[in-house]
């Protein structure tokens, strides 16, 4: 059974249609990266899943409960970190966590232990007595994350949790999310590809309010392998090699690049969808009296898939 199920979700703000029929599923235990450029509709989708606002139409279920009709049941199972991590600046860290614990119905006798646990897990135990606005951004981010965990939710929704952090902190927070993902179902919104690729087992790409692609990083590469490139290094006459390569079936396009070795030339070959011309290349190059020094197959980077998918329209 899907932990999160979204069916044909639409959301119209006063003048823009932010979601135009979004559907996707998240299974129990998955860490799903929700990826898209600015304004794609990521935050809008998460606000609907967290029952902060209602969709204009469509269906969203979290942990078996409908977001529209049973918001309290959904929210009880959900840890939600809103975009920009809003916190009450005047509160002390433990006051804020206690506040969140009480609002999430953690029994009084467990609150202390829970606060202690999340403070240790998220690495802000030493700041527990500080006033929030005196803390650095990195600590505030950890506190925001800690607050979403205080009632030990089954499901986590994190909207850009690493924005504005320095590289070391980013690595730490990603590690933390990965660790959390062992026990929980996680949706991680981001427009940073590497982040999603490193932390998530599956990626959903949204663009202009519709789902543009979804799958594991490997599946996405496979689907979009129109972008597979071969790098070939040949010793011999450049013009002749170029002619031969371009004529091989399955080769869409050939470019040259320079290599260090004397008398050798590099070629970048764009391969047609679902073709693998490598055996053909090695045979024909040698038959023509040229020396084949290297063939390297470059998988489409997620970067290029992302660009391809989100700039199509």
């Amino acid at each position: 059974m899907n932990t999160i199920r979204v069916r044909n979700l639409r959301k119209k703000y006063s003048n823009t249609e932010a979601l135009k029929g979004v559907s996707f599923e998240v299974d129990k235990g998955e860490i799903v990266g929700f990826l898209g450029p600015n304004g794609a509709g990521k935050t809008t989708t998460m606000k609907i899943l967290s029952c902060f606002m209602a969709a204009s139409s469509g269906e969203a279920t979290v942990a078996g409960h409908d977001c529209f009709t049973h918001p309290l049941l959904v929210q009880q199972k959900l840890g939600y970190l809103p975009e920009n991590n809003p916190l009450y600046p005047d509160m002390k860290v433990y006051e804020y966590l206690r506040y969140m614990a009480e609002l999430h119905n953690v029994p009084s006798r467990h609150i202390k232990d829970r606060i202690k646990k999340v403070a240790e897990d998220c690495g802000f135990a030493e700041k527990i007595d500080h006033v929030i606005h005196n803390l650095s951004k990195g600590y505030r981010q950890r506190i925001g994350l800690g607050a979403t965990l205080v009632h030990d939710p089954e499901i986590l929704i994190l909207d850009e949790p690493t924005v504005g952090l320095d590289p070391n902190q980013i690595v730490e927070i990603r590690g933390l999310i990965k660790k959390l993902g062992r026990e929980k179902t996680v949706i991680l919104c981001s427009h940073v590809l590497t982040e999603v690729e490193m932390t998530c087992n599956r990626i959903v790409i949204i663009d202009q309010g519709i789902i543009a692609a979804s799958g594991t990083a490997a599946e996405l590469r496979h689907t979009f392998d129109a972008h597979v490139k071969l790098k070939v290094v040949i010793r011999g006459e450049q013009a002749k090699a170029l002619g031969i390569l371009t004529a091989i079936p399955g080769v869409k396009n050939t470019d040259t690049y320079s290599v260090r070795e004397k008398g050798a030339y590099g070629f970048v070959i764009t391969v047609a969808r679902n073709r693998d011309p490598r055996p053909e290349i090695s045979r024909i190059v040698i038959e023509n009296g040229l020396q084949l020094l290297e063939i390297h197959r470059e998988l489409a980077s997620l970067e290029s898939i992302f660009n391809q998918v989100t700039t199509a329209s």
Binding site: K47, S50, C51, F52, M53, A54, A55, S56, S57, F68, P71, L72, L73, Q75, Q76, L78, Y80, P82, N84, P86, L87, Y88, P89, D90, M91, E95, Y99, M100, E102, L103, H104, N105, A147
Partner: protein
């Protein structure tokens, strides 16, 4: 509706008042101003009564209560913490009541401090306890009504200043519509309605020392109406 949620929100709000200088400024202004109003009456008229003091209260409240309520929801919206509050398993009624009771407790605290004045009266003369009790009761009702209106307006406006000004203007309007000067200007058929709606009419009626159930019902309805409007406004974004 969970009492624990209301209590949690109320405690947090109250603590929030005292984390900012506003609460202390409020208390100081309230006490200085009301004592001045009172002792002026004592020295000028030579009477140990609190009538002048209570007559002044609606105007003091008019400036001070919007200052309490202006940040209640405006600030949460502006800072984005509204999202934190409303994505917790908390109903809008719990959030609204938590905030309302917090501001009401704060008002109650101020009124309790101001009990120094009747205490002094007790020393310098024999006060009229009936009037004083009625006056304090009226002040609580009136304050609750102002607070509910202010809370509603803070749920509409993102800016604290706008929230303050709108609340003060709206409360002022509602206060004076039952006033004779206004009544003379409206069609005769509307006079009873204006008279019933006017905040001031009911307050002076309580001050007279007669506790009429109509006044109590009026204030209870007014408070309920505005709390309900606040809830509806918060709920609004959850509707399709």
């Amino acid at each position: 509706m969970k009492f624990r949620h209301i209590n949690t929100i109320m405690q947090k709000e109250l603590q929030g008042y005292f984390n900012s200088p506003l609460a202390y400024i409020f208390m100081a202004v309230f006490l200085v101003f009301t004592s001045w109003a009172f002792f002026r009456g004592v020295f000028l008229a030579g009477q140990a009564a609190m009538r002048g003091y209570f007559a002044l209260l609606p105007w003091v409240f008019l400036l001070l209560i919007p200052a309490i309520t202006m940040r209640q929801f405006s600030e949460e919206r502006k800072m984005g913490t509204m999202e934190v509050l409303l994505t917790a398993p908390v109903t809008p009624w719990e959030a609204v009541l938590g905030k309302f009771f917090a501001s009401f407790s704060f008002l109650l605290m101020n009124l309790i401090f101001s009990l120094i004045i009747p205490a002094i009266l007790f020393i310098i003369g024999w006060p009229d306890w009936g009037t004083i009790a009625a006056g304090y009761l009226g002040a609580l009702f009136l304050g609750a009504a102002y607070l509910a209106i202010g809370l509603f307006i803070s749920s509409l406006a993102d800016s604290q200043i706008i929230s303050f000004i709108l609340s003060a203007v709206f409360i002022f309007a509602l206060f004076i519509i039952g006033d004779d000067a206004v009544l003379r200007a409206v069609p005769l058929s509307l006079v009873p309605i204006f008279k019933f709606l006017g905040l001031g009419v009911h307050f002076s009626s309580i001050l007279r020392g007669v506790l009429d159930s109509r006044d109590v019902v009026y204030y209870a309805l007014l408070v309920f109406l505005f709390l309900h409007l606040t809830v509806a406004n918060i709920h609004n974004r959850r509707w399709r």
